[in-house]
């Protein structure tokens, strides 16, 4: 394992400290709960949006806090749901008269922690609703009784809900937007390599030099199948096919198209995939209204990518257009 780490047990608090130091005007950091909130806290006349999950998916979760996005978020250890108290404190720190929407990717550990936190907050008369994001089409049903996983589609749910909340929409209205986005967004990923959680020190899975894992999860969970690597175009076709057939999306749809890097893949390779995905979208009769190429929901340094399609309508287009600011930035 070669990484920029000190004590692996301090990896999460150390990088959170860095995020906080880099964004003093934007964010507040509470080390005790590995919690980051918008500078100045919640606005009582606006719905707050909170999230929290295992670390290792950055910029997902804590780097999505800021105007037009999340009100606050907390992080667990790498790939482990945050402790219940961190979730509870995040809800409390973001409590608003207009209500709090807990918007979390669908994993068992996260669900349990946020369920308990929500119960605790509700007992204190905080108005909380929960919404579970589950856009990953890789795992169809089955065994996986906690349901489909939430992955990069998460970004769109946050973006749309964050914009709606900041525009003064009610808790029920923001919840309805979360539902609409989640119902219309689908993702599938592919891994070229495994990642290595710092505390574990070894890869989550082993892939041959010429193998890829199609449908991989963002914690290295196995996907649909392992295959021999093939061309970027063929891989993109496979992802596009799986994603676009799932809802299904229809000719004439206006869409947002995302190629999300899983952490170790350079931006140029993502654009090679985007070029193909864009062509496929046009061939399918979709209009690509917005696009997103880069890292939105990663798996440490895993080489790989996911493809996300979101069906738009006028309301969602306006919400994606709205201004937003987070620790993830260029300038």
């Amino acid at each position: 394992m070669k990484k920029f780490v000190n004590d692996p047990a301090q990896f999460v608090p150390e990088f959170m400290k860095g995020i906080a130091q880099a964004n003093p005007d934007l964010l507040d950091y509470t080390p005790e709960f590995q919690m980051i909130t918008r500078k100045g806290g919640p606005n009582n006349s606006k719905v707050s949006i909170v999230q929290g999950s295992g670390s290792g998916h950055e910029p997902a979760h804590v780097m999505a806090v800021g105007p037009g996005m999340l009100t606050g978020a907390c992080q667990g250890a790498v790939f482990a749901a945050p402790p219940v108290d961190a979730c509870y404190e995040t809800i409390k720190a973001c409590a608003s008269d207009a209500g709090v929407l807990v918007l979390v990717n669908n994993y068992q550990g996260d669900r349990m922690a946020w369920d308990m936190a929500t119960e605790m907050a509700t007992a204190e008369d905080i108005n909380v609703k929960q919404f579970w994001i589950n856009d990953d089409v890789a795992v169809e049903d089955s065994l996986y009784t906690v349901g489909r996983r939430g992955v990069a589609g998460n970004f769109f749910v946050i973006k749309a809900c964050g914009a709606a909340a900041d525009q003064g929409k009610s808790l029920d209205e923001v919840y309805a937007i979360a539902e609409k986005v989640n119902n219309n967004v689908r993702t599938m990923g592919v891994a070229l390599t495994s990642c290595i959680p710092p505390a574990k020190g070894t890869p989550i899975f082993e892939l041959g030099d010429d193998e890829i894992e199609v449908g991989v999860g963002i914690h290295g969970e196995p996907g649909r199948r392992r295959e021999k690597i093939h061309s970027a175009d063929k891989i993109t076709e496979e992802l596009f096919e799986a994603v676009s057939k799932d809802i299904p999306f229809n000719s004439g749809d206006r869409i947002a198209l995302m190629i999300n890097g899983l952490g170790g893949t350079p931006i140029t390779e993502l654009y090679v995939m985007y070029a193909k995905a864009h062509d496929l979208a046009e061939q399918a009769g979709f209009t690509v209204v917005r696009n997103y190429v880069g890292e939105y929901c990663t798996s440490l340094e895993m080489a790989g990518a996911s493809l996300t399609i979101l069906r738009l309508d006028a309301e969602l287009e306006a919400l994606l257009d709205a201004p937003a600011e987070t620790a993830a930035r260029i300038f």
Partner: protein
């Protein structure tokens, strides 16, 4: 009826701290076979705090103590283990509020309530290859001992350790239906569940602590670091 004193419960918890800390890597390695390898670390993070803060924990009665432990777990344990163990302690605390000793029946009910809480929290049932596959038979065993005229605590503990150990082997071939291990599908079959192993190891260590003679047989219990 046979009573269990607060100080006995305190000893059991202190023993559990040692067991969990000693097995941190071992439990994580077991979790790594089919899950994400965080179980030992998550649990140890919580029990390390319990051990370090031991003197500050409210011990005015069993319920108060268990409530505080549940709170420490909720604060420090992540992953699925935080809600599972936190819920278990919380439910047990509610049935022992204000008590400085509990009867075996009360202890059995505390465990029953913990199991119900864990099931309500995580939706797992018997056979899903989770620590419930150890806790539920242990609970049944305790119920059996309660029904006897003059239950023997040592015999009860020994029997509990036996059924927990048996659960390791019996569930090994199952496919996990809950937790991260459930997401590797068939790959989880053939590996022991770390949660079940942890219960068996803890109960075995309790036997030692309370001078109950018993010979562990499962490789997973024998293999734990000394």
């Amino acid at each position: 009826m046979t009573e269990i004193s607060q100080s006995q419960i305190e000893r059991a918890i202190q023993t559990t701290c040692k067991t969990v800390l000693r097995n941190e890597l071992y439990f994580s390695d077991l979790d790594g076979l089919a899950g994400d390898g965080d179980f030992g670390t998550s649990l140890a993070t919580g029990y390390r705090v319990i051990q370090n803060d031991w003197n500050d924990i409210d011990k005015s009665n069993i319920g108060a103590m268990l409530l505080k432990i549940s709170m420490l777990v909720s604060k420090h344990v992540g992953g699925s283990s935080g809600p599972i163990w936190g819920t278990g302690f919380m439910k047990a605390a509610m049935l022992s509020k204000g008590k400085e000793a509990v009867t075996l029946q009360e202890l059995t009910d505390m465990l029953g309530s913990a199991i119900e809480g864990i099931q309500a929290r995580g939706g797992a049932k018997l056979g899903d290859k989770t620590l419930l596959d150890a806790l539920i038979p242990v609970h049944e065993t305790l119920k059996g001992h309660c029904a006897s005229a003059n239950p023997d605590l040592g015999r009860a503990l020994c029997d509990c350790a036996d059924v927990a150990e048996k659960a390791i082997e019996e569930t090994k071939t199952l496919v996990a239906h809950r937790g991260r291990a459930s997401q590797v599908g068939e790959r989880s079959a053939g590996t022991p569940d770390p949660g079940i192993v942890s219960i068996a190891v803890i109960l075995n260590d309790w036997c030692k602590e309370f001078g109950v003679e018993r010979t562990a047989t499962a490789a997973e219990v024998l293999n734990q670091p000394a």
